[in-house]
Point group: C2
Chain length 325, copies 2
């Protein structure tokens, strides 16, 4: 089973076909960076059209069982998530509404301070806010997973501790391997996995050692090391694949509507756009390379099956349903 | 001249008539606590209807000169403000839009953490956020005054320092006089006035020494002391009069949409509603009592005229217009 813990592609029939070619059974796709509730609904609508248009390739995913159904039908199950809490605006009751519409992950912050927590690009981090504490409780209740991929350290640790259900870092790598601001320090990953959470390894070049030039071996050795440190059952892939996106999209991701000045985020003025992917992971067709790479660095079949999808499957099965009343 | 730096009444012809009876020339009225942009536009619309309906009592205020015009016509000029940045949502370009619509004050926070700064009820305060810095710059440019009445200490001091134009605390009292969480400590007031800002004294009982039982003399002595400490030219009234509001409104003010649990704010479970006003300041008809009280504690005519309206007038004249291009 292959499950990708995060993608944000410029979706097309071509990409849906590549998912099938790469035998990808499920993908958590981002449908909001900075979109407010109404704009996010437009993105749900767009996916409904695609599900209608490509029933042989994709289907909506709401539960882990949907992945099994999708496999049987030869389709990829699409799960929705937000990289910012902007879709719930300032309204805690929107948590249940977006879950009903199909959202299964929500980041509490995207780089900046939000109403709920602190993002990884702020100078300081006060942890989970008053509203954040209320919203985590509500997310736990309805089955919307807390994702802290773009959050600051203290906020992430507090979220792991405050949340009564496991949380996720859907797409990031260990900071020890590649010290990017978006990668996660040891105590942050430890807090997440100690509370049953998941880490999805990112293939976005800014999160890789040597960026685009990162080798498959280095990436897979990093995973094997993380398996030893944190327990392999907490690990998956969250490729952060942003396939076919124009550079205007990375500008939207970084700046949204919050600044009139450009902010280069993980890039720089000279390298403002999307970085090129490593040659061994161009798109959904290359998950097999990672599988081979993990075998190469000595992981066994069971471990590899877990990292490639089994661990996300179990996490989805445990965390997407409401707590029984 | 009498100017009130903040009111949030349940508006009616009765109250507009009382403003005339109390010879109130201008009032800064709150038109948003938690309203988003679209909801705030509804509140602008409501006021447009009232201006149409009561042209002999009230008119829209955009500049200090509008106060003089209103005086000549025997009307009260109404200036708009927000107690939360919720009307600009996550969109910096809405700053200019709301100014064009007539907004002249915007609080960066209302008790809680916002996208811009920390509110006075959060456990910790990281100061002005990344977005906050951008938004203050834009507010300075268009002539929308930063109001920190409900903000935490560090955020307020940073706002005073970062802002290139003076800021205001439209409605609060010195913490030294009455140690409410919403009142302002010495170094906070100092930072605001050192940068040319204003403090409006609140008559909301939770901000008064002995609350509803506060005496006129104690209130006026506090003002006289503040005049000595901070310079009388930085002082005005910001009554925070919430006349005729049902208790459901104080619940909306406190909880908005951010919590499913009740939060009592400055009140308590046993005293959840609006507190009764002191008998010497029931409503707009009682500004004369404050004037007499200030005289009683030894302030001279010029000082009293400044506190009752002259200082706000000068502040309005300096800070509501865009910076020349």
């Amino acid at each position: 089973m292959r499950i990708d813990g995060l993608q944000y592609a410029n979706w097309s029939e071509k990409i849906f076909r590549q998912m099938r070619e790469g035998e990808v059974d499920a993908v958590h796709v981002t449908i909001s960076y900075h979109e407010n509730f109404r704009e996010t609904v437009l993105n749900f609508e767009r996916w409904n059209r695609w599900f209608e248009q490509y029933p042989d390739l994709i289907q909506k995913g709401l539960t882990a069982e949907d992945i099994e159904k999708a496999r049987e039908a030869g389709r990829t199950a699409i799960f929705f998530g937000f990289q910012n809490p902007s879709p719930i605006e300032d309204d805690i009751d929107l948590v249940e509404i977006v879950h009903t519409l199909g959202a299964r992950f929500m980041q509490l912050t995207y780089n900046n301070q939000s109403l709920l927590a602190t993002g990884c690009y702020e100078a300081e981090d006060t942890g989970i806010t008053r509203m954040g504490k209320q919203v985590i409780k509500e997310m736990n209740r309805v089955g919307l997973v807390v994702d802290m991929s773009h959050s600051a350290d203290r906020s992430t640790i507090e979220a792991a501790e405050l949340s009564e259900r496991p949380i996720a870092i859907t797409h990031a790598n260990p900071y020890d391997w590649s010290p990017a601001l978006r990668n996660k320090k040891h105590d942050v990953i430890s807090a997440v996995v100690q509370h049953g959470g998941m880490l999805g390894f990112s293939l976005y070049p800014h999160h890789l050692k040597d960026k685009t030039d990162c080798t498959l071996q280095s990436f897979c050795e990093m995973i094997a090391r993380a398996a030893d440190q944190y327990g392999v059952q907490h690990l998956g892939i969250g490729s952060d694949l942003c396939q076919d996106q124009p550079d205007s999209v990375v500008e939207w991701m970084r700046v949204g509507r919050w600044s009139k000045e450009i902010d280069y985020g993980e890039g720089s003025a000279s390298q403002a756009g999307f970085p090129p992917m490593p040659e061994w992971f161009r798109d959904n067709r290359d998950f097999g390379n990672i599988e081979s790479g993990l075998r190469m660095v000595g992981m066994n079949d069971e471990e590899i099956a877990g990292v490639m999808g089994g661990n996300w499957f179990r996490f989805f099965a445990d965390n997407f349903a409401p707590v029984p009343a």
